[in-house]
Subunit: 363 residues, 4 copies
């Protein structure tokens, strides 16, 4: 259970890290959308392994095949199934993991829950699962762009204490793709890259914060009371591997302010209602208000480190384990497109929900 | 849409702040549970207005009636409908709110989304909606306690910069209920109370952080990949009014550590697998590992302040509004039982989901 | 579980036959719909007990109260909670039912499933549960009528072997309400009424078939492959108490034809695509084609009869039971508005689903 | 939308008739079940084309590949993705179908709903979609058999007016697989086979009725009030292509009886509660009572006939069309395993739902 996301635009992902393949079925995609495998591949290439000298050297082309739902270049309104074959298997690399639980990984929990697990590369708990999310997200991103020029831009805001300089300008895709760490501040990006290389050299790993900004989203999206837009975004982001926190708008820092300082006063601007400030982060009462949406996500340091760590084996003995396989010393650069994909899936789903209730009838 | 929460233990809340009543329907509650209206009332009394000199003076007994699903003191397995009548209506108090949008409230967003809104006390966007959650949560809390002595304890950790001293001991209910601010550190509690009174005297408001700790939860709860336990907790908490952030375990601070420092090494302890540290916050790979679960939620300062603020009216004119009605200068003390309720609903739902897939059959 | 129906227009019913009340929460209703308690009461009066000399003499005004979701005569887009209090309790009438399972009732099954049951009037398994459906359906019927003049007309087609004469004309509401049995053929209606009175005089009961016809429904509603329009109609109808069968279009009789005789040839008529015949019953491939939709539902004879029947008690002894309480000798006349309500709920839900996927975006 | 079935055991099918492939993702399958591709293939072979001289000559091996969710021969509790490649493409055979709507097919409805369709072999509306259902059903069938020796047996009961002799004995799989028409009465089977060949020789087609019997199902499955077991079975069956009716137990014929004749009296038998008769068809109040479940499904004659029929083209002109491609003159023999699969999926889902609510806690 738990492998489906969304109410109206519903994605179901499948696949283990070293099984035959990884994929996704997208149900509810609007018909007649022009889409090609290349457009989906573009986003997959942003998350695939081996793309830079600070990511894992695992070699996977992550080539996507469209199995259904698209005909002569357009969506049919039927389920779109996308498949990526796993190629770079090395089952023998995982012999130790059959016997030992890796600290701060899901091994022990999967074994306890299911009484069985696929130890090869973490099986289902591998971040390879997010391939399906990114592939589906590529379609959602395109629809939102065509519908209202909605732009979703995630980037690495900090690695450990190294933090990018904040700008009010909406960051461009090219400024983010300009460096392997995906940080729009080139000076911070350089420091982050060095930090990642340095901790990797020590067999260690680091975490950080990804920020996501969204503009041009119309007001009115979000379903109170449980399916508030920020609640669904929080769930989407906390469903990503290695995430430990989410904050929207003023977040935890906003708790230091008083109400008069925190409130976003309203004013007419260019004939429309706007807020003067944006501590709310573009959402009030669970519904978008038309301002920029922004939120931050905390990613812990990669759990796999190349140093011996105390652990337990499946027979209940204390032992040690040392990281093997090919791993990212920092997951954030490759997580940037995943965050964008999840944000797009949430927004598109809410767009459709809003449309169904509020635009299907006029009274 | 969006008024139902949970997959197997499913609650649906209804009601506007000044409509005839507020309530909840709980579907999926296990049968044969002994439950009384008094047990539910106990939790409602913890969240009701007028309970202390730092909460709103609105007078509502919030008396709960069980409409269905309970027979001769036991649950039937059928839907449990609970109703609380609204008594302290003052519709005339809301005349200005018909015409003007309150800053950092949901007024403008509801109007934009639905083309209509109930302006009295915020209508559906009022925190009175959480009555249904607390009532349902009282049942979930009892089930979890009976099942495995699961304890869920939320408390106010900080108001603005005033922060409670952390203890490793699990805080007792009596230590939290000992002061009106619901903070287990009596010195901090005193400072918080003074701060709240002081900002209220200035017609202003404050926010802060609630922490929630959960012990005795068995390992194995949580549904990867989208319905991770922390993802569902994050959604539950961000679905509460005034929340701006959620972090589990090490949260945002954990992003400053390296992997070797952050990882929770495993060890055998008393014949069972345990972690030495608990940066994970009791969940790995989306599944509980049997350790204590803890998370923090940021609540913004109350949006209603007793000072004039710039805003816009429904005709598109710039204007001013000043808070009326009876409001909490700080929502956190009354939010404590709401956080516990939502946590209980998430955990119970996941307990049932885990049971369905993993315990219904033996192979 | 299982007390919620619909994906986007979602109703949740609650209540036991002799508990405090029966009701429904409707989530997803479009905002700004003018609706009054009187409009809902009109449909409830069609299903309430004691309305004629062939229905149960139980005295229930079934007065509906709107608890939420409507403000100044219009829907808010928030959940609409509707409550009907149970008044005519006679708990002592059910002492025997505590001890004995009534044949062909749900008593034994509820006891087996839940380990507990409310024996008073059948508790949750009573047809009083359908009050919530009819109340919700009244709103759906109004929306469909306003949107496209969709008309939904159910009527009693047969009681045992007495069958109404078929007409191609769409039957009027007045022709159906003209007699207590709700059959538009006055001669058959007279015979049916006599049959019902005659079997009641013998302490016995009868069943029959309700037919439902729907016109003006646009083409394009229905979600293949599982949520075909006829599949959701079938589920809706088989979820009604006492139903044993459903057929759409040519139904079981259509299995006697060859393909060439059965196929509905297409032709242009008044500038639009139409079928020459309508064996399909207005649905092809799970999607409405714009023709009249018609289907039939089999209702078994009422299980409660005023004669001694062999049964078993809760201690596992063979015994006898004789019907008590006040019951309909034939459920069909009062089931007519229930069938219409369920049909309306299915159609409105599919309208919204179609709108969300196929009309929210233009490419 | 609408491509997912089930609440806890959730299947999502995908694929067009002549696209790259057809498949299914199964979420919620219990872990540790031993399963092989061969076991799934066995059921697929029962539904695949070209298996006998009365089915379509389309050549498809329908070879299934397990893409995920199974490791070393056992299920992992993670999603099981199954893929069947389409091989026997003949796109040029469908040129006429681009321009013309086939009568009593879904062509016109898909075009109207989605504004686009894949005309090759009916695209998504093809019965090839049921491959995914049968593959998933094979797993459900195995689980139910292992759990309680539940047996699900469907067979062809009638073709047009030719009807199999009813037996009280539960029919064996071998008696059904003994002839190509899948009817356990060999004499009727012979007549049916001849009828099918005869109508095919005339370029025509026939329909009929499939009956399904289920034994050893425990009492207590089914979720009132909307998700009654018979309601979910009805939906499952009416979601199959070409179905026009469903009846459970006494069905439409039962409407001719009086209550005293129809009621299933209870009695103690071998120390357990049983019914003397079984007009209920094993379900009362929406919940299984432990008796045999039986139901009947009406299948219309195949819509594709090899004779000219009046129709309309996509430009709105009246025209004619004559069936091309390779089609079954009667869908029933190949539908038998599909009915069993859908029944198994419904029962397993309800088993899990019952377990979650009623067996996860003891009070």
């Amino acid at each position: 259970m738990g492998n489906t996301f969304g109410q109206l635009l519903r994605i179901t992902t499948f696949g283990e890290s070293h099984g035959p393949g990884i994929g996704v079925v997208i149900d509810g995609c609007p018909p007649r959308l022009p889409i090609t495998a290349e457009e989906i591949q573009f986003e997959l290439d942003r998350r695939r392994p081996g793309q830079s000298d600070i990511s894992t050297p695992r070699k996977e082309a992550d080539h996507v095949e469209i199995l259904s739902g698209v005909y002569e270049g357009k969506t049919l309104g039927t389920p779109i199934a996308l498949l990526v074959r796993n190629l770079d298997h090395r089952p023998q690399a995982y012999d130790e993991m059959r016997e030992k639980f890796r600290p701060s990984h899901a091994d022990f929990c999967y074994q306890t829950k299911y009484g069985i697990r696929n130890p090869e590369g973490g099986g289902r708990s591998s971040a390879r699962e997010t391939i399906g999310r990114v592939a589906a997200g590529a379609i959602a991103v395109k629809i939102l762009r065509l519908a209202a020029n909605v732009e979703i831009r995630a980037f690495v805001q900090s690695i450990q204490e190294i933090t990018a300089k904040e700008t009010s300008d909406f960051p461009s895709l090219s400024s983010i793709e300009a460096n392997p760490v995906r940080c729009p501040d080139p000076i911070a990006a350089q420091q982050m890259t060095e930090r990642i290389k340095s901790v990797r050299a020590q067999g260690d790993s680091v975490g950080g914060v990804i920020k996501c900004r969204i503009r041009n989203l119309p007001a009115g999206l979000g379903e109170p009371v449980f399916d508030r837009l920020e609640a669904d975004l929080a769930k989407a982001m906390l469903s990503l591997p290695a995430t430990k926190g989410f904050e929207i708008g003023s977040g935890f820092e906003g708790t230091l302010l008083t109400g008069t300082a925190h409130n976003d006063a309203l004013e007419m601007r260019n004939g429309a209602v706007h807020t003067k400030t944006n501590h709310s982060g573009g959402i009030q009462g669970g519904i978008s208000n038309g301002e920029e949406i922004y939120f931050r996500i905390a990613f812990k340091p990669t759990a796999t480190v190349m140093r011996p760590q105390p652990t337990v084996d499946i027979h209940g003995n204390n032992t040690e384990i040392i990281g093997k396989g090919r791993h990212d010393p920092c997951v954030l650069p490759r997580a940037v497109p995943i965050v964008e994909a999840m944000a797009a899936l949430v927004l598109l789903d809410h767009w459709m929900r809003d449309h169904a209730q509020n635009h299907a009838f006029e009274f």
